[in-house]
Subunit: 347 residues, 2 copies
Amino acid sequence: MIEDKNQARTSLSELGEFGLINHLTKNFKMQHKSTIKGVGDDAAVLNIENKQVLVTTDLLIEGVHFDLSYMPLKHLGYKAVIVNLSDIYAMNGTASQITVSIAVSNRFPVEALEELYEGIFLACKTYKIDLVGGDTTSSTKGLLINITAIGEVNKEDVVYRNSAKPNDLLVVSGDLGAAYLGLQVLEREKKVFEVNPNSQPDLSEYSYLIERQLKPEARKDIIKLLKDLEVKPTAMIDISDGLSSEILHICKQSKVGCNLYEEKIPLDPQVISTCEEFDLNSTTIALSGGEEYELLFTISQEDFPKIKGNPHLTVIGHITDESLGANLVTRAGQQIKLTAQGWNALS
Amino acid sequence: MIEDKNQARTSLSELGEFGLINHLTKNFKMQHKSTIKGVGDDAAVLNIENKQVLVTTDLLIEGVHFDLSYMPLKHLGYKAVIVNLSDIYAMNGTASQITVSIAVSNRFPVEALEELYEGIFLACKTYKIDLVGGDTTSSTKGLLINITAIGEVNKEDVVYRNSAKPNDLLVVSGDLGAAYLGLQVLEREKKVFEVNPNSQPDLSEYSYLIERQLKPEARKDIIKLLKDLEVKPTAMIDISDGLSSEILHICKQSKVGCNLYEEKIPLDPQVISTCEEFDLNSTTIALSGGEEYELLFTISQEDFPKIKGNPHLTVIGHITDESLGANLVTRAGQQIKLTAQGWNALS
């Protein structure tokens, strides 16, 4: 956080835990009829009738998952919600509620948490999500956010990772590599700023990359699109750790192999030009860059006509027998074994 | 953590995030028929039929909520689960699943996390809970655990905090003040140990207090007991921040007052003798000591015969009109306004 010493500052201990939760959530209106009781009791009460319940959780830690020197708190709040919703959509479900646990050191005034919650609420509004609970406490160092998302799905609609079949097509939404490059651009500008705090960077040519890093979206629209097209994926996962890592999850859990075609991987022009500028291989970036929150899924070949030509979806390969392994087929026609080089939060 | 340099140490980065989760959860068997899919996909899938879903979450941070110099990791894992289950029982529900998010600095070897998970699994086994998801990552400092618990409850059985009525009786399970005193004893022994690492403390006369601090239980048995007795509380909350703070929550949310009788507050003999030793007022300790995880509830007067004489339950007061406020009636018959002096995680 680039601190502005002139900002109004209210210390967290002035409000206390209950005061803080009340203060932050008082204007938030519930939107889901399934939310019977949100914040304010020992537990939230939800009424999810005739559907299966989906639960996912994700932990973001300052200095590990984000850097407040270029991640504005409002964006961080937004992104922390998106990361979780993406997991619900990846089950072919509808996200409906979240709980938010936050720990902050006392260097953060109440106003900083308000900014963070502005982002959380914006994501809730955009994706029609109710904030139904959480925990707010102090930390000995930095900021951390743990969000748990709840969703619902018809029993017959749920899509797992372990059900891809040989000959299925491998499909990805959107394009890849931008979020990772956005981070590289921001890291470079941070270094420039550290050397010369008066520099006024022109980041307009990286606008798409930076937006993908700072304000990613979850592909709720793709879940709706697939429903409208009457396509039920045979397996699905969201791309949080990199295309290559996610493909390997599907292959391992479904006990299949696959061929991924390098020339088919969708790349935005900004990704291509920035890879050239940074002297990076765009295929490597697309394979290993995380935090995309695109959906990767497999469909039966007979569904191909339904998605053919759709600008949001790209067929990037096909599923094969397990014995053939998971391979990248390069532009030169060479087969290379896919390896997960995705981001490892423990390394 | 009192580190044993001779222990086997496997670094976290050797396993990586997916390897670690697999390693820690591989022997865990699902017990609930409502758990359709646990760890291993984007989200857990639960089938909670014809019931309302309960969700609660709690964040525990090293140096704020626990001190590893006297809290063994196995106990910490156990307690982190209990804290959440207690919130589900406080809604008159049945806890069924948890997700566990953990962040650890690299000073913790895999073996330390195994100990932590041993405690988590023991609590799961004891309370019949499925571990269905989570997140494991590195932290820049210390250990933190965020658990979210999922439960279920029949629509007509759920008990909120906001439905106590004048003339209802105020009832508490178990006895109070022991967990707080256990912490005082452990803090004192830590100081002795720092001065003289060879001291061999005899803590047998504090065994109940220490057990209440290090290995608390959630009152699943009380929920069953109340069902068996055909008593549905009119309002309920669990005691995590202190009796006084919880009574005020019920009074504020139910828009009622209450009289709490000092002479009725249940105290264990170890609490009384240790308060004398530490020169503490046992009523103050019972009112303000947190982490009890007992249930505090109100019942209609006509249900009194059903609970009368039950050794697990004590009537400690009654609900009055809001205009009369929330009061402690001392042994001398004096009325004192109740104030929340419970623990504030943000102070």
